[in-house]
């Protein structure tokens, strides 16, 4: 695959904590696939943790400071010509997307009072102008056009039946979601574009249990089992996600599900970008399949894709 670097579209990219650790395969597969589409993710200099979860109380401005510092970095990238008039902040992790987009909405409220108040905390940097727009990679793919994605596919993932797991953070609250909160179709379109078959299933936006995986593990085990069983009952071979926490809960927690119920049939869980990289014909290093808990290789070999 030839790529002329000067023609790559450069976009500020916010990785988030887990993509630099347990979900390195998510980041690698997404960045390498994006290059095939002519997009370069430019990591935001000195980015800091978004806070993972949105602050939901009306009296808590403090927890919006971290997201705001990242927005300031994006405005700096423009003033320093690291990117050219590109104020969109690209995210891969669903939780980063949700937290940053909601925070941006909170900070840029109608009366601009919050923006002014929070800018008063910024002693070491320029004020935030409110120019940044937080987007998710799925939205960028939709904008490029799934038919264009399909044109770049070298290895159509024929006969692979994939359950699109949206989870919560890409869809709700509805005013920041990337698609209809109850009846989304963007991930189905993505799955079709790489030659695989999307499987409709009831649990596509059922919560996996989120951070309860720390202290209320059984809730997460039960939830993950319901979601995976539902996907299997609807004919899925595997599930895709864009959330590293959903991925941990659905993938790694299958260890506990299996320990509690020997009849449970395990199922591979992929980051959507891993299947994109596979369909683009990228090599093993880009896929990072060895980091998945449930080994997806037997499935992919059975389908003639590895």
């Amino acid at each position: 695959m030839k790529n002329n670097n000067t023609q790559l579209m450069k976009i500020p990219y916010f990785p988030g904590c887990t993509l630099k650790d347990q979900a390195k395969n998510f980041e690698r597969s997404a960045l390498d696939s994006a290059k095939i589409l002519g997009i370069e993710f430019v990591e935001i200099p000195k980015w800091i943790c978004c806070g993972t979860v949105e602050s939901l109380t009306s009296d808590d401005d403090m927890h919006h400071i971290a997201p705001m510092r990242n927005f300031i970095r994006v405005e700096e990238m423009n003033s320093q010509k690291i990117v050219d008039n590109e104020y969109r902040m690209l995210t891969l992790c669903s939780m980063c997307f949700n937290t940053l987009k909601r925070s941006n909405q909170f900070i840029n409220n109608n009366d601009q009072e919050t923006l002014k108040k929070l800018n008063d905390f910024m002693y070491l940097e320029e004020d935030y102008q409110g120019k940044v727009e937080v987007i998710h990679f799925f939205e960028l793919l939709r904008e490029i056009g799934f038919e264009k994605v399909a044109q770049k596919v070298n290895v159509p993932l024929k006969s692979l039946k994939i359950a699109p797991y949206y989870g919560c953070m890409l869809l709700r609250p509805p005013d920041i979601g990337i698609d209809d909160a109850e009846n989304p179709s963007i991930i189905e379109e993505f799955i079709s574009s790489i030659g695989a078959d999307p499987v409709d299933f009831n649990s596509k936006h059922r919560c996996c249990g989120s951070y309860h995986t720390i202290s209320k593990v059984q809730i997460v085990i039960n939830s993950a089992k319901k979601i995976i069983t539902d996907a299997r009952n609807h004919g899925a071979d595997a599930i895709i996600t864009s959330c590293p926490l959903c991925a941990f809960n659905l993938d790694s927690r299958q260890k506990e599900i299996k320990e509690q119920d020997d009849s449970f049939k395990q199922m591979p869980i992929f980051y959507f970008s891993q299947l994109l990289a596979l369909a683009f014909g990228l090599d093993k290093d880009s896929l990072g399949l060895e980091d998945n808990y449930i080994n997806p290789e037997p499935l992919l070999k059975e389908k003639g894709l590895l």
Partner: protein
């Protein structure tokens, strides 16, 4: 026959406090139960999400002692479906915050086993500590 429920001052104060922290007008809840039917974790809770709203409407501060307020993980299924446009996740957050602002954490780091500690991703830690500690 028209019945009137009169709240004692302390109940009104509790209701007002939760409304103020959450930013939600809790009295408009009709008790239709869509939230309880939509919540994926109603079965794991000690009171339903609709019950939680009713208790706050009546200013019953023992809602602070329920498991329900801690189990809500802000998945927002109820919020997306509430016919009154209420966001229950903000109400649960306000109730958690009333507890957490007394400097009592809901989880203990030392309860996480070393094997789990190694295995868990950063995103889970940050999420849990933000929601369950003060």
């Amino acid at each position: 026959m028209l019945k009137t429920i009169r709240l004692e001052d302390e109940n009104t104060q509790f209701l007002k406090k939760v409304e103020s922290i959450s930013g939600e007008i809790i009295t408009v809840c009709d008790q239709c139960g869509v939230c309880s039917g939509s919540c994926p974790f109603t079965d794991d809770m000690d009171i339903t999400p609709a019950n939680m709203m009713r208790k706050v409407q009546l200013g019953q501060s023992d809602v602070l002692e329920t498991e329900t307020i801690w189990i809500c993980a802000s998945c927002l299924r109820c919020m997306a479906r509430c016919p009154r446009g209420l966001d229950l996740s903000k109400v649960a957050e306000a109730l958690r915050q009333i507890n957490l602002r007394t400097a009592i954490n809901h989880i203990k780091v030392e309860d996480i086993s070393p094997e789990e500690a190694k295995r868990l991703p950063a995103i889970a830690y940050v999420g849990a500590f933000r929601k369950l500690t003060g």
